[in-house]
């Protein structure tokens, strides 16, 4: 009897779920890089306004944007967090499902740093060329493109320690990987002349650019598909290891990690804000305009996120490690005027 009762109660609950769809909280999903910032904002939003705390799920930029583009309606998410710009392909997929008016909001910048164990070898200064020489499958030695022969950092740059090359880099599902490839590996590819050597070897320019992004597969470059905590665990177990971290993560773990400069610039919120530190990227969130006015608190959440008190240089996001956007006022205007991508109002 009791079983029957529970079962029927559940059935009723299931049915009412679909009818009682008037969702009263904002739903957000996407990048795990943006998640910490979004969770800070969501908590503050719940504490400082009369709206319920938004739900922020993780899962990665691509997965978040995919769900964002599934359509318009109560059962789809309102905001997608992304650690990269939305792609044309994704905008098209969105449009096919009726998601046409998208507001793009840039919340600030995130630095990507190279860090190693506190008591490991003295990895203190890198250039993109060093990273390319250490991690590419083919490098230029004496003017010729050969399979990467290097096993120690000192073999190609006498200033670096004589320690085995071991790098823990973000896996391909991470938005961070793209930035790492673009700003470090590709830059190193050009600087060392490997790209020119590939083109001279008969490759087209585009193919050479793609080939530049490859990473050696002999076990010296390890893809980390998990979070930075996994990279940290690998670094702690591996004195020679170099790991790729977000600036905020590094700053939270300075007692365990030491950071290296890139092109002679020390990563910090200041050097990233001025653009001196080369490896950084903007962070975004995307808002479905069709949901504004339908889902209570959505517009308020978006403008709360980019308010000076939160995303500004003195706000809690900067305190956690976000590099605040110098053009924050412009972003605030975009949100308040609900300017969609492509310029529509």
């Amino acid at each position: 009897m009791t079983f029957k009762l529970t079962a029927s109660a559940l059935a009723i609950a299931a049915v009412s779920a679909t009818s009682a769809a008037a969702r009263d909280n904002v739903q957000v999903a996407g990048s795990s890089t943006v998640l910490p910032y979004a969770s800070i904002v969501a908590e503050a939003f719940g504490e400082n306004t009369d709206f319920p705390t938004p739900v922020v799920e993780s899962g990665g930029s691509s997965a978040g944007l995919k769900r964002f583009c599934e359509g318009v309606g109560e059962n789809t998410i309102d905001v997608a967090n992304a650690s990269r710009k939305i792609k044309d392909k994704e905008i098209k997929a969105c449009a096919e499902n009726g998601v046409t008016d998208i507001i793009e909001v840039r919340i600030g910048y995130d630095g990507i740093v190279f860090a190693s164990q506190q008591n490991g070898p003295a990895y203190t200064a890198f250039t993109p060329s060093d990273m390319f020489n250490a991690l590419a499958p083919k490098v230029v030695v004496d003017g010729a493109l050969v399979d990467n022969p290097y096993t120690q950092w000192s073999e190609f740059n006498a200033d670096l320690p004589a320690a085995d090359i071991m790098a823990f880099i973000p896996g391909t599902k991470h938005g961070t990987r793209e930035v790492f490839e673009e700003k470090v590996i590709a830059a190193g590819c050009e600087a060392t002349g490997a790209m020119q050597a590939m083109i001279d070897g008969g490759m087209s320019h585009d193919d050479a650019e793609d080939a530049c992004l490859a990473v050696r597969t002999d076990g010296r470059a390890v893809d980390i598909d998990g979070d930075y905590t996994e990279t940290l665990a690998r670094i702690e177990a591996n004195p020679n290891g170099i790991g790729v971290f977000g600036l905020a993560f590094f700053e939270n773990n300075q007692d365990k990690l030491k950071v290296a400069t890139m092109d002679g610039v020390m990563p910090s919120t200041e050097s990233i804000a001025t653009g001196e530190y080369p490896v950084s990227r903007p962070l975004f969130f995307y808002v479905k305009k069709a949901h504004i006015g339908v889902v209570p608190g959505l517009k308020e959440y978006a403008s709360f996120f980019v308010a000076d008190e939160l995303a500004g240089p003195e706000g809690p996001l900067a305190a956690y490690g976000l590099v605040s956007d110098p053009e924050l006022a412009k972003i605030q205007a975009v949100v308040s005027d609900e300017v969609t991508m492509g310029g529509g109002m």
């Binding site: 299931a14 969702r23 969501a42 503050a44 059962n75 007692d255 956690y320």
Partner: protein, 440 residues
């Protein structure tokens, strides 16, 4: 003849002296026993290592460093704070001002400023605001507050942060530790049992002091109700039919094989199924314990069916025959005689299936229960099933991925709580079996 007399050694065995062959057999038995003991010892050693490391890593989560201070908030300060966008920050500022004043009054010999105190404090504005909004009568009166310190101060108290390893940063500076010591001496900061960890909901990444597993325990609870409410009746009905009524033919064989296969399907597959069917097709809400429960029901069903069928099989046929013999219908025989006798086995199987479901994370990843989700306690039953919530293992996973190592301790603390639940469930299963099981 001579041969026969020369043969004796074989026959001359004695019960007092052991011959070589027996010795060998005894030795091999002793060796085998030793192997067995070693295997058990290795197993126990691993268990002990696991238990010790979990307890050692998890205990910091159960204490926290708190500020104990009397605060007087005036009506004017309240109104000024309520006008701001970041109201909580204004409340925090009032607290810092009054603490500074108190320190100056007590003539503390350490240099400090508001920023240093801010670094030592956790995020307390939310608690203060919630208190004064709920109790407007407290405005203008002194109220005793116990509020969390920052995670670094926590680390200093449990030995994770030391003067040698601390690197000056905007989170904490070495000189701040002098202030911590002074505040500790003055009795303003001290360690206390962390009830927040057990009762509160999840907090944001910069607020480890406010994080708790309570809301996700509730989420897990609602999921388990769904799993129990659906998988027990469905599983028992299916097994009774298959075991007692179904004809034995190719088709039922096929069903049987498939149930066994289903039990071995990796749980992430059920997560994808749940996303596609329950959320995208049936439009049930994201991150809802109802959906989580439905997904875990699919996962638990085969376990329950298999154990129920085993329990039904264990009831001797003589009982069925006797019932049928005195004129009971087949259904009466099953429901009046076989099922009650099989019940302990069924319950044991169900509880073990539930315990397995309770610890499952993988399917929950796909239906949106990982992230910053377990934020509020549900009001009432319907909300409990439908409002976004997390579950214990998903919460642990979320915490383990956060940058601040205080959350890492919380993840271990969460594991302790999860293990307590699992142990309790397994003990109940054992007790039920002991109490009701009958052997024939």
């Amino acid at each position: 003849m001579t041969d026969a007399t020369n043969n004796p050694p074989r026959h001359k065995t004695s019960l007092h002296t052991v011959d070589a062959r027996t010795k060998r057999r005894n030795a091999s038995e002793a060796r085998f026993k030793m192997y067995g003991m070693t295997a058990i010892l290795i197993g126990l050693a691993f268990l002990a290592i696991l238990a010790v490391s979990i307890i050692r890593a998890g205990t910091p989560a159960f204490t926290r460093t708190v500020f104990d201070m009397e605060l007087t908030l005036t009506q004017a300060e309240f109104e000024a704070a309520e006008k701001q966008l970041m109201k909580t920050k204004a409340y925090q500022a009032v607290f810092i001002d009054q603490l500074s004043a108190k320190l100056t009054e007590q003539n503390v010999q350490v240099a400090f400023d508001g920023k240093a105190i801010d670094r030592l404090l956790g995020k307390i504005g939310g608690d203060l605001r919630a208190h004064y909004r709920a109790n407007p009568g407290d405005l203008g009166k002194p109220v005793q507050f116990t509020l969390p310190a920052s995670s670094r101060v926590d680390g200093y108290f449990n030995g994770k942060v030391t003067r040698d390893t601390l690197v000056d940063s905007r989170f904490l500076e070495v000189s701040d530790l002098d202030l911590v010591d002074a505040l500790h001496e003055a009795g303003i900061i001290h360690s206390a049992f962390n009830w927040t960890f057990i009762t509160a909901a999840d907090s944001s990444v910069d607020n480890p002091g406010g994080a708790g597993i309570g809301a996700s325990v509730v989420g897990s609870f609602f999921m388990m109700i769904v799993v129990l409410g659906l998988s027990l009746p469905i599983g028992v009905a299916a097994s009774i039919y298959l075991e007692e009524f179904a004809p034995k033919n190719r088709f039922t064989d096929l069903i049987e094989v498939n149930i066994a296969n289903l039990a071995a399907v990796p749980s992430i597959v059920f997560g994808i199924l749940g996303l596609a069917v329950f959320i995208q097709f049936m439009h049930l809400p994201n991150s809802a314990p109802l959906v989580g429960g439905l997904v875990l029901t699919l996962m638990t069903l085969p376990t329950i069916i298999i154990s129920t069928r085993a329990a039904l099989k264990a009831v001797p046929p003589s009982i069925r025959d006797a019932a049928l013999g005195v004129g009971a219908s087949k259904m009466q025989a099953v429901f009046h005689h076989v099922l009650p006798l099989a019940m302990p086995g069924i319950l044991t199987g169900t509880i073990i299936g539930l315990a397995q479901a309770l610890g499952e994370t993988a399917p929950l990843l796909l239906i949106g229960m990982v992230g910053f989700v377990a934020r509020e306690y549900p009001d009432g039953l319907a909300e409990g099933f439908l409002n976004a919530n997390s579950a214990m293992p998903a919460q642990i996973y979320t915490w383990a991925a956060r940058a601040d190592s205080a959350f890492y301790d919380k993840a271990w603390g969460g594991i302790i709580i999860l293990l307590i639940f699992l142990l309790t469930m397994n003990i109940i299963a054992i007790l039920l079996r002991r109490r009701f099981e009958r052997r024939w």
